[in-house]
Symmetry: C2
Subunit: 393 residues, 2 copies
């Protein structure tokens, strides 16, 4: 680059380097690596949804769509989220179709965050939250849940809110995701009501990322949205429920001015989402609302397989409430060194799992194992892990 | 909204209201309106590209893609832009696949613009530039070309650069689009070399939006990118060349650190673009590079039809160098009142064309007519315009 050109923006510099990339760099190239790192479901999209997609292409739906999302998709999504989680969405302009949940999070943050506003992020966290907060110019306020077995409580919210204030940072919003990636924790309706009360009391915007709602094992998923609709921006989408990560269909659901603000940014940023994919998505939510039920049983079997075996091998893992990850404490000799353990495991046992450090600086005793792969592959990986542990001991 | 929640961000407030929406609001609902406002090609996507798209869906390419874009699409696009416009792209990491040219512009601006940096925008302008500059926190420096029959010159660049400096605004970048939307102006290689020299001298980043490259009628399109590759961010895509506006495939092409910066923001914002659409796009650029040639002939006929007729009707219109719009000065009695004229025309003659005011505050004598519709529809619209003018006179 020519030196005298203006340098890159401070915004770019402020976006933290993704620790996942550091990890992958250190692992380097490993042949025949079994990847239990990423959360990309191995399921195919349902046949009838693919047919609807193909129909749209053949009918030449190759023109611009409404920037808010096609009316058909928004209407179908309104009904879906009303029926599934009692969201009571009253107006199709309260749903915005986005490029995955990722874009929804960014639109929400860009709509409400000014420079140096504090955003509370539950840790361990899905690392995109930190980068999105930085992109919007906000300051991350970590809310570490490790002291409470990874469950958020009103007391934890209040304590961290106060600590931020004491440091001169004004918290304006909180990003909550449940079922949680990576820890698998979720909340009962009573627990959510208690959290809603504290969010209300503290006047926090809540970005409630419920993308794993359909992967709830212990109980029906309850959404935060109907509890405090005036201050919740519901972040969701079809990537996990309908196993369509590569179709990139998400939703931001919110009321009033913030819905209009997100639309304004969407218009500027993307114009609209691809039309034929929206047709496929409309079919999926309308005619195959229970796609997530089919895969849920399979995920449960996979998770149980992994949890049981890991506990036999000296890890300490609980069955998660939801999502499709196993969050496990490493065997004693790797305590505090799960990053090194994961690098060595990838290089020697050819199994990639993610170290806790990717999700929180305090989680160096933990690893995350993704159950997005088949039982067969998971079994093979577990044998490799077992052999690795035997050789190393 | 609850009053005590944090208000919307200043960023949202700073994004100017889209004058096109004002216009549409004032037109209101008109039955059987012929829309010659928007630039959404009526052509279908080529059959073999649709087949490639369908193949990708059937092969279950429904998983995350590389955030930079699929390697296959980037490789095909490298070859395409090298062969078409001599871009000499050396590295597939110098191409980023984006959600249309719209996202490419935003990624470029977010990568280089800090608060209050000046961004020169050629007027009349495609209005998204102003909103994207505001989103990035920059200040628009309008460079009005009306005094030079809508052609940018080094002298105009230098004069407006100096004016901005005098006002205390530091220009760091310029957004140039050619063939130009709305005016249809383009530049010869010699003219581009002169512009490149002044951009180099002034150390400006150049966002060169060449989305209409394949709609060049007078001469072969020359890209600015090979002239000053170290300071150009080439904004392009397949929406116009391959008539796939609703597929949302664009490219940002740039070197070095700014390419990495755009990727970093892309990772944060969208994760990746939809996989099956990238497969369709890879097929389109590799096996149907001349899709734009087929439609070019048709656009030329349409444009000629409109230009000839408008000149007969008392408008003053030149054949454009490129793109698919006719930029016309209105008949004498509507001079200074093209906004009102367009509203009245839509309501009474049921033909929607866009007033110049949407594109520049100094263009109230002009209108833009989109030739994205068929000759048949254009002919019908021209009859309606003729009848309107007769009745009104």
């Amino acid at each position: 680059m020519i030196k005298s050109l203006k340098a890159l923006s401070k915004r770019v510099e402020s976006i933290p380097h993704d620790p996942m990339l550091d990890f992958m760099d250190q692992v380097g190239k490993v042949d025949n690596l079994i990847d239990l790192g990423f959360g990309d479901p191995d399921f195919a999209v349902a046949k009838n949804t693919k047919e609807a997609f193909i129909k749209s292409i053949n009918e030449d739906h190759s023109h611009y769509a409404d920037g808010q999302g096609t009316f058909q998709l928004r209407k179908a999504a309104m009904d879906y989220y009303d029926q599934k989680y009692d969201c009571k969405i009253e107006d199709p302009n309260e749903i915005l179709v986005t490029g995955g949940a990722a874009e929804a999070i960014n639109l929400a943050l860009l709509s409400i965050v000014d420079k140096n506003d504090g955003i509370m992020i539950i840790e361990p966290e899905y690392s995109q939250y930190s980068t999105s907060v930085a992109l919007a110019g906000g300051q991350k306020i970590p809310v570490d849940t490790i002291s409470n077995n990874f469950k958020l409580t009103p007391a934890l919210v209040e304590k961290n809110y106060q600590t931020a204030l004491d440091k001169g940072i004004k918290p304006v919003a909180i990003i909550l995701n449940f079922p949680n990636n990576p820890t698998g924790k979720s909340y009962s309706l009573d627990e959510l009501k208690e959290l809603a009360s504290i969010f209300e009391k503290l006047n926090l915007w809540v970005l409630s990322d419920e993308i794993y709602a359909e992967q709830s094992y212990r109980q029906k998923h309850h959404s935060l949205y109907p509890l405090i609709p005036d201050q919740t921006i519901l972040i969701t989408g079809l990537s996990k429920s309908h196993s369509m990560t590569g179709y990139r269909i998400g939703f931001a659901i919110a009321k009033g001015e913030v819905a209009l603000a997100m639309r304004k940014i969407q218009d500027t940023f993307l114009t609209c989402l691809p039309t034929p994919i929206q047709d496929a998505a409309a079919f999926a939510v309308k005619y195959d609302p229970d796609a997530g039920k089919r895969t849920r049983k399979e995920y449960f079997k996979r998770i149980k397989l992994v949890v049981d075996k890991l506990n036999q091998l000296g890890f300490s893992a609980e069955m998660p409430d939801g999502a499709f990850y196993v969050w496990a404490k490493v065997p004693k000799r790797f305590i505090g060194k799960s990053f090194e353990f994961c690098i060595d495991l990838a290089q020697k046992a050819r199994v990639q799992i993610f170290p806790g450090a990717i999700f929180s600086s305090t989680a160096s005793d933990y690893v995350r194992i993704s159950c997005a792969q088949s039982e067969k592959i998971l079994s093979r990986a577990l044998v490799s892990i077992e052999n690795y542990l035997k050789q190393g001991s």
